[in-house]
C-alpha cells in the first residue's frame, strides 16, 4: 500500500507548486480565510448547510448518464457523462460559489467580488450573492464582456455590478488582476470568491474541496450503476476546477487513468492556444507557482481559445504537481476538434455542451476507440452550451 495522497502542505505547496505569492497587504486576509476554511470544512453545522444548499438549491446529486448511442457509435469504451450541466446556473461553477458564499457569511463579510471569463463563474457568484443579499462586483475582461454579452446581462439581472477590465489583454487574467486590486483595497468587508483552483493558498485546496463533490458522487454512482470503478476520467482544464473536482476522489485509485484536456486553440504549433501544462513552463502568477504561458522574459503571453472559460495562461498548481508526478496526463484539443465534439454530443445524445466541456468530449472521442468495450470512461460535462450559441453560429457563418 502506498501512502494516501495528502496535498498540499500547510502552506499550500504541492511539491514546488502552489504557495502564497502575494503582496503583503493580502497575507493577513488569506491567513484569516485559511483559518475560517480550516475551521468550517470540518464543522458539522457548516457541512449540513452546504449539503442542503447543494441538494435543494443546486439540484445535486447530478446524474451520471450512460451515453449509450454515442459509445456504440465510437465502438470502444463505454462513456458516462457527469452531468454538471444540469446544476442550477448550468455549470459546475456553482458548487464552489455556494461553498465560498457560506464561508463569507460565516466570516461576516458583506461584499463579494469575483473575476470571470466566460461569465459562468460570474453568474454563479451573482446568483449566490443575490440569495444571501450581499453586494456583488464582478470583474470581467472587456473582450469577454463583448463575446459573452448574454452572461453579462444575466449578472446584471441578478443585481451584480459588472466592471469591464480594460488593462492588459482585457481577458480573464486581467480580470483576476483587477479583482486582486479590489481585494487589497477593500479587505475589511470584502470576500473574494475565486472561480477556479488558482490564486494563493488556500484557494486551490479550498476550491478543490468544494468541487470534489463531483468526483465523490461519480465514484458512488459508477459503483452503483456499473459495479466497479471507471478506467479513465476525462475533463477539460481552464484553471482546472471541474477537472480536479472529478479527479481528486480518485487519486488513490491508481487503476483509474486521469486525462486533463487543455485548449489548443488554433493548434499548439501556432502558439495561439492556452495549453499551459502541455506547452508552458513553471513560473509565478496570481499567487501561486504553476505552469504558465510566459515568454523568455517572464511576461505573460496572450492566450487563445474558442472558449472563454479556457482562455487563461495559468493552471491550478495541483495539476502541475499531478503532471510532474505522472498521476494525471494532460492533452490538448484544438478549436476545430472541440466543435466536432460539440456537434457529436448534440446530435448523438441530444445534449448541448458548453464549448469548454466540448474539449473533454472531443478527447473522449479520440480515447474511447483505443479502449475495449468493457472499459468505462467518465467524462465531465462541466456545463451546458446555451451561452455559446452566438459564438458557434458566428464561427459557422450563421446569422441568428
Amino acid at each position: 500500500m502506498t501512502d494516501k495522497y495528502n496535498m498540499p502542505d500547510e502552506r499550500g505547496h504541492f511539491g514546488p507548486y502552489g504557495g502564497m505569492f502575494v503582496a503583503e497587504t493580502l497575507m493577513e486576509p488569506i491567513r484569516e480565510l485559511n483559518e475560517a476554511y480550516q475551521r468550517y470544512i470540518d464543522d458539522p453545522d457548516f457541512i449540513a448547510e452546504l449539503d442542503a444548499d447543494l441538494q435543494d438549491y443546486v439540484g445535486r446529486p447530478s446524474p451520471l448518464y450512460y451515453a449509450e448511442r454515442w459509445s456504440k457509435a465510437l465502438g470502444g469504451a463505454q462513456i458516462y457523462l457527469k452531468r454538471e450541466d444540469l446544476n442550477h446556473t448550468g455549470a459546475h461553477k456553482v458548487n464552489n460559489t455556494v461553498g465560498q458564499a457560506l464561508l463569507a457569511k460565516r466570516m461576516g463579510k458583506t461584499r463579494i467580488i469575483a473575476e470571470t471569463g466566460a461569465g459562468q463563474h460570474g453568474v454563479a457568484t451573482a446568483t449566490v450573492a443575490a440569495r444571501l443579499g450581499l453586494e456583488c462586483v464582478v470583474y470581467m475582461g472587456a473582450v469577454d464582456v463583448q463575446r459573452q454579452a448574454l452572461n453579462v446581462y444575466r449578472m446584471k439581472l441578478l443585481g451584480a455590478t459588472v466592471v469591464p477590465v480594460e488593462s492588459g489583454s482585457k481577458t480573464l487574467k486581467d480580470a483576476l488582476n483587477e479583482a486582486l486590486r479590489d481585494w487589497v483595497t477593500n479587505v475589511d468587508n470584502t470576500f473574494y470568491i475565486i472561480g477556479t483552483v488558482a490564486g494563493p493558498h488556500p484557494y486551490p485546496a479550498m476550491v478543490r474541496d468544494f468541487q470534489a463533490i463531483i468526483g465523490r458522487e461519480a465514484k458512488q454512482q459508477c459503483l452503483a450503476q456499473v459495479g466497479r470503478l471507471p478506467d479513465a476520467l476525462v475533463a477539460c482544464v481552464g484553471g482546472g476546477s471541474n477537472a480536479i473536482g472529478l479527479f481528486y476522489p480518485f487519486i488513490d485509485d491508481t487503476s483509474v487513468k486521469m486525462y486533463g484536456v487543455e485548449a489548443a486553440g488554433d493548434g499548439i504549433e501556432t502558439g495561439r492556444h492556452s495549453a499551459a501544462l502541455c506547452a508552458g513552463r513553471p513560473g509565478v502568477l496570481h499567487g501561486n507557482r504553476t505552469y504558465l504561458m510566459a515568454d523568455d522574459d517572464g511576461e505573460i503571453i496572450e492566450t487563445h481559445s474558442i472558449s472563454a472559460g479556457l482562455d487563461y495562461p495559468g493552471v491550478g498548481p495541483e495539476h502541475a504537481w499531478l503532471k510532474d508526478t505522472g498521476r494525471a496526463e494532460y492533452v490538448s484539443i484544438t478549436d476545430d476538434e472541440a466543435l466536432e465534439g460539440f456537434h457529436a454530443l448534440t446530435s448523438m445524445e441530444g445534449i448541448i455542451p458548453a464549448l469548454e466541456s466540448s474539449h473533454a468530449m472531443a478527447y473522449a472521442m479520440k480515447l474511447a476507440p483505443t479502449m475495449t468495450k468493457e472499459q468505462i470512461i467518465i467524462v465531465n460535462l462541466s456545463g451546458r452550451g446555451d451561452k455559446d450559441m452566438h459564438t458557434i453560429a458566428q464561427r459557422e457563418g450563421i446569422k441568428l
Binding site: 502575494v22 513552463r281 509565478v284 522574459d297 517572464g298 511576461e299
Partner: protein, 267 residues
C-alpha cells in the same frame, strides 16, 4: 556595509531623511531612463527604485500599470533593466539602486542567474512585490551571497509576528505601504502611519521607508517627519504620462517636483 546601510547611516548622521523616487524603467522609452535617473540624483534623490515592468502588475494602480504597458511596448525586460542600471553605474558609483518588480521575470531567469546578473549590474537591493518572506528563503540566500539586500513590504494590517519575520529575513530597509490599496491610491493618514511606525520600530531596527500616497512637497515633509525614507512613484510617473509628446518637459517637471520635496523634507 552595504551601500543601502551606509546611505542610511550617512543620512542619520546628517539628520536627514532619504528621498526615494520610483520610476518604471523604459517608460516612456528606454532612452529616457538613464538621464532621468542622473537628474533625480542631482535633484536630491538618495536611493533610486527601478520599476521592472511586468505584464500583470497586480499590486499597482492605473498610473504604474500604464507605465508598465508603455515600457513593455518598447520590449523592456528584466535583462534590459539590468543593462540600463549598468549604464547608470558607469557615471554614478554611489547612489544605491533597488529593483522593484514582480517575481515571474526572476523565476524565468532563475534565482542564481538573477543574483549573478544583479550583482554584475551592481544592484544594491531587490524588492519583489509578490514574494513574501514565507516563500523567499532561497532567493534571499542567493542575493545575500552577492551582498544584495532583499527588501520587504509591510502593510497596515501586518501583524507583530510579520514585522519580526521581515526583520529576520529582510535587510537594507523596510518599505511600509501606508494604506490598504494599490499604488497611486488615495491619501495617507499621518496619524495612522505614525502609530503603525511606532509599532514596527518596536520589532526592527531596520530603516523604514514609507510609500503609497506621497504626492507633493507637503506629504513628503509630513512623512519625512515620522519615517526614515519617503518613497514617491505614481506622482512622478503622472508627469511622464501628462507629457508623452514631450519627454523633456516630463523630465523637467519630475526634477521640479523632487526638488520641492527635498527642500520641504530638509526644512
Amino acid at each position: 556595509m552595504s551601500r543601502l546601510a551606509a546611505k542610511f547611516a550617512e543620512l542619520k548622521q546628517a539628520n536627514r531623511k532619504a528621498l526615494i523616487p520610483f520610476i518604471t524603467v523604459g517608460d516612456p522609452n528606454p532612452e529616457f531612463t538613464v538621464p532621468m535617473l542622473h537628474a533625480m540624483v542631482a535633484a536630491g534623490a538618495d536611493i533610486l527604485e527601478l520599476g521592472v515592468p511586468f505584464s500583470d502588475p497586480m499590486a499597482d494602480g492605473p498610473v504604474i500599470q500604464r507605465a508598465s504597458e508603455r515600457a513593455l511596448a518598447h520590449k523592456m525586460s528584466l535583462r534590459k533593466v539590468l543593462a540600463l542600471a549598468e549604464e547608470f553605474r558607469q557615471t554614478d558609483k554611489k547612489t544605491p539602486l533597488v529593483l522593484m518588480g514582480y517575481l515571474n521575470p526572476v523565476e524565468m531567469l532563475g534565482y542564481q542567474a538573477f543574483a549573478d546578473a544583479a550583482h554584475k549590474a551592481d544592484i544594491d537591493g531587490v524588492l519583489t512585490v509578490d514574494l513574501p518572506p514565507e516563500e523567499a528563503a532561497e532567493c534571499v540566500e542567493l542575493l545575500k551571497e552577492k551582498g544584495i539586500d532583499q527588501i520587504f513590504l509591510l502593510a497596515p494590517n501586518s501583524t507583530e509576528g510579520r514585522v519580526k519575520k521581515m526583520d529576520a529575513v529582510g535587510s537594507g530597509y523596510i518599505y511600509y505601504v501606508s494604506l490598504k490599496g494599490v499604488t497611486g491610491a488615495g491619501h495617507l493618514n499621518t496619524a495612522d502611519v505614525e502609530a503603525k511606525l511606532a509599532e514596527i520600530r518596536k520589532n526592527t531596527s531596520l530603516p523604514v521607508g514609507v510609500g503609497f500616497g506621497v504626492k507633493d512637497a507637503q506629504t513628503a515633509k509630513t512623512v519625512a517627519a515620522i519615517a526614515d525614507g519617503v518613497v514617491v512613484g505614481s506622482a512622478l510617473i503622472s508627469k511622464i504620462e501628462e507629457n508623452l509628446a514631450n519627454p523633456q518637459k516630463a523630465k523637467d517637471e519630475i526634477v521640479e517636483l523632487l526638488t520641492s520635496m527635498r527642500l520641504a523634507m530638509d526644512s
